[in-house]
């Protein structure tokens, strides 16, 4: 099964290599990997998508926790969370096909971020399945180049039901 792990690690020289090395040394799969600083610059967040049965995932989480500089490991798949991927595409869009591509952009709530005589550059974010679907449809026009980022994911904050809280604030809190 597919699991999205959110790992907080001290932002130090060589720590990412330790995490990646652990996966290759023990034969675990990395489907995607995203790393960036958190609000505290000395801590990085690694969002890692992997696959495996329950026992493998259990071992992966334990092995990650065993890393000296890893501060926490959360299996987001075990809880309510949101995942997003991002893709940038140069797609053929000359002549009358341009409008068809623009229609797709609108349907997928993507963005046109660049244009040339024969192509459009599209930025799209969404769940993996949405990005997959968009790419499948764009293939029909001819994709010149495609760059896809790894998954980022965040747990949904627990929403406390409090009848005193105006609905407006709850919505704001959820963003």
């Amino acid at each position: 099964m597919r699991h999205t792990l959110s790992i907080l690690v001290e932002n130090r020289f060589g720590e990412l290599a330790r995490i990646v090395g652990l996966f290759s040394a023990r034969g675990y799969n990395i489907e995607s990997l995203t790393v960036a600083e958190t609000l505290e610059p000395e801590i990085s967040r690694v969002t890692l998508v992997t696959t495996g049965d329950d026992r493998t995932i259990d071992q992966i989480v334990k092995q990650l926790n065993k890393q000296i500089r890893v501060l926490s490991v959360t299996d987001l798949s075990a809880q309510d969370h949101v995942e997003r991927e991002m893709v940038l595409v140069h797609v053929n869009a000359a002549g009358e096909t341009r409008q068809s591509v623009l229609n797709l952009v609108e349907i997928f709530r993507a963005k046109v971020i660049g244009v040339s005589q024969t192509t459009l550059t599209i930025e799209a974010t969404g769940e993996r399945s949405k990005v997959d679907a968009l790419l499948r449809l764009l293939c029909a026009f001819g994709i010149q180049e495609m760059v896809r980022a790894g998954t980022v994911a965040i747990a949904r904050p627990p929403v406390e039901v409090n009848h005193q809280t105006p609905v407006r604030e709850l919505v704001d809190a959820k963003g």
Partner: protein, 604 residues
């Protein structure tokens, strides 16, 4: 500052003042080692560590440096030293080949959880990444075989890193830590605010205790069990928990089977001891763990050499697994009650909990009998687990450890028994890997912890002799023996030079069958007897080899000569190599074929 003003300052101020006096990185490193209580360093100099060796020469009162003849030997020595003393072993080697030669030793320490700090020289910072002379990516190479490793980037962080490295190596599940230091860092001048005192490792929580609920559940399950067994390993020794184990086993009257790494954590002659389990373990220990209804596993990792085929392992047993390393729990075999904790504190908690509501049977004698007289303790039959003990005794009678002795050739098993008799089971013995290692495990009968020093996880030939030398350097007056095969000895025999240089009393027993015996055994059994590259023809005359190094060489080739040679060799002063020519094609039994279940044990 003049000497006069210094004398007027109080001690504290003096210390701070002396820290603030700028000194070289090399000096800071060595002072940091003194701060950690280090007095012995195993090493080998070279270009990148010249500044460190230069400072070392100025501190003869603080350090004894043992010059190995190969960096692998230096690391194995440090491991033998650490295993025998429960201290952190320290190694100092140069960059490039110094570091790569050390890797086998580091990997060995990693697999067997031995606390080491290995300091490697590195090319100057500006040259890193330029494929400079004697440059390798030491941190990259050692990353998968260390508990942690460092590249020191600033001299200002050196003292803190050393302190952290010792903390990491020795705490939790111990292991080797590498500190890679560029040459220019050791030559640079810096002042210090203080020596490392605290560590800031927010992601590292090595010491976990069991919860009261876990302890009570474990005790309850143990009291309910009809066929319990204690399966214990190296973790008990690392935690210095042999006393707790003895008290727990006796209080609950549970049979105990140690792993190879656990040999000596429970006295082998004790009536509750079943001897080693696993691939070459005793028949009754393997049967007992297979038929047990409760396995209390402490400080073990369910290694494949112990479990055999996982799907056939202990089908009826509920498993309580105590280990300091969370990732060991349910890694190979699912634990019903996993307890993360240090073996000593968890067993102590269990004993305390027992005192509360359970009175232990008074029937077991705590006296330690010798391995030969380890027969059933009649008193056991008073306990509620009478049937279980009866069954174990039946297995023991059905297939005791045995071999056919001979008047013509020395049987290796007989050699191990004689060694036990002549040393009273009290020697520190280090081995390589292979047949000799298994026979020693079966027939020597270690009395206490930290006597058996062996390469378990990595299975590194060449480990035994330098490891014995390291243990001997820690305990100059104890009987320390390297028990090695003729193959393994030839991998690190050059350390004879080290043993002689430092005037040790190390004894080396070469169990010489002129074969790579365990490989030969597998070729005989699993490859239709096709012997491929296992004959050691061309081996040196070990007696003359010893003499060439200035050591003493003795030889026994007939059973009639054995006892005399062992007696003489063990009692002599100095380094003695005893070349014991044994029957060449003897096999180690019992044996569980690889991939088979424990009950598919082959007795002969």
């Amino acid at each position: 500052m003049t000497a006069k003003t210094a004398t007027t300052l109080n001690d504290d101020t003096k210390a701070v003042t002396s820290y603030r006096t700028p000194r070289k990185g090399a000096r800071i490193l060595l002072e940091a080692l003194v701060h950690e209580g280090v007095d012995t360093i195993f090493g080998y100099p070279g270009g990148a560590v010249l500044p460190i060796y230069d400072e070392l020469a100025r501190m003869p009162d603080q350090f004894r440096h043992i010059l190995a003849r190969h960096e692998q030997g230096a690391v194995h020595m440090a491991e033998g030293y650490a295993k025998a003393t429960a201290r952190v072993g320290v190694v100092l080697v140069t960059s490039g080949p110094g570091a790569t030669n050390a890797v086998t030793g580091i990997a060995n320490a990693f697999m067997d959880s031995t606390p080491l700090v290995v300091i490697t020289g590195q090319v100057p910072r500006k040259m890193i990444g330029t494929d400079a002379f004697q440059e390798v990516d030491t941190v990259g190479i050692t990353r998968p075989c260390t508990k942690y490793n460092y590249l020191v980037r600033e001299v200002s962080e050196l003292a803190e890193i050393v302190h952290e490295a010792f903390h990491l190596a020795g705490s939790g599940r111990p292991g080797p830590v590498v500190i890679d230091i560029p040459k220019d860092v050791t030559a640079e001048l810096a002042s210090l605010d203080s020596m490392g005192k605290s560590v800031r490792l927010p992601g590292y929580q090595p010491n976990k205790r069991a919860t009261t609920e876990q302890v009570e559940r474990a005790i309850q399950r143990i009291l309910e069990a009809e066929r319990p067994i204690l399966y214990v390993g190296g973790g008990v020794i690392h935690a210095n928990a042999a006393d707790e184990l003895l008290r727990l086993a006796e209080a609950l009257e549970i049979p105990v089977t140690p792993t190879l790494m656990g040999l000596g954590c429970f006295p082998s002659g004790h009536p509750l001891s079943l001897g080693m389990l696993g691939m070459h373990g005793t028949y009754w220990a393997n049967m007992a763990i297979s038929e047990a209804d409760l396995i209390i596993a402490i400080g073990v990792r369910f290694d494949d050499r112990v479990t055999g085929a996982l799907d056939k392992f202990a089908p009826h047993a509920e498993i309580i697994h105590v280990d300091i390393d969370e990732s060991s729990l349910s890694k190979n075999v699912r634990a019903h009650l996993p307890i993360r904790g240090d073996a000593k504190s968890v067993m102590h908690q269990m004993l305390t909990s027992l005192k509360g509501g359970y009175s232990p049977p008074l029937s077991v004698s705590s006296g330690v009998e010798s391995a030969e007289t380890n027969t059933k303790a009649v008193t056991r039959y008073c306990t509620p687990r009478r049937q279980w003990w009866q069954q174990i005794d039946e297995w023991k009678e059905f297939a005791p450890l045995s071999y056919e002795n001979s008047n013509e050739v020395i049987k290796p098993q007989f050699l191990c028994q004689e060694l036990h008799r002549l040393t009273n089971g009290e020697a520190i013995i280090a081995t390589d890997v292979g047949q000799h290692q298994m026979w020693l495990a079966q027939f020597y009968g270690f009395k206490g912890p930290r006597q058996s020093i062996t390469s378990g996880g990595l299975g590194a030939m060449g480990f035994g002799f330098p490891a014995a030398l390291g243990a001997q350097l820690a305990f100059p007056d104890r009987q320390v023996i390297a028990f090695v095969g003729d193959g393994g000895f030839q991998m690190t025999a050059q350390e004879l030079s080290t043993a002689v240089q430092y005037q040790t009393n190390t004894k080396i027993i070469v169990m010489n069958n002129n074969y790579l015996g365990m490989v030969r055994q597998w070729q005989e059994i699993f490859y239709e007897g096709t012997y491929s590259a296992v004959g050691m023809d061309g081996a040196p005359d070990f007696v003359k080899l010893a003499q060439a190094y200035g050591a003493i060489g003795l030889r026994a080739s007939k059973p009639q000569e054995l006892t005399q040679v062992l007696k003489e060799g063990l009692s002599m002063n100095g380094v003695v190599v005893m070349d014991i020519v044994v029957s060449a094609e003897e096999n180690v039994y019992p044996m569980i074929p690889p991939g088979a279940g424990l009950k598919e044990i082959v007795l002969r």
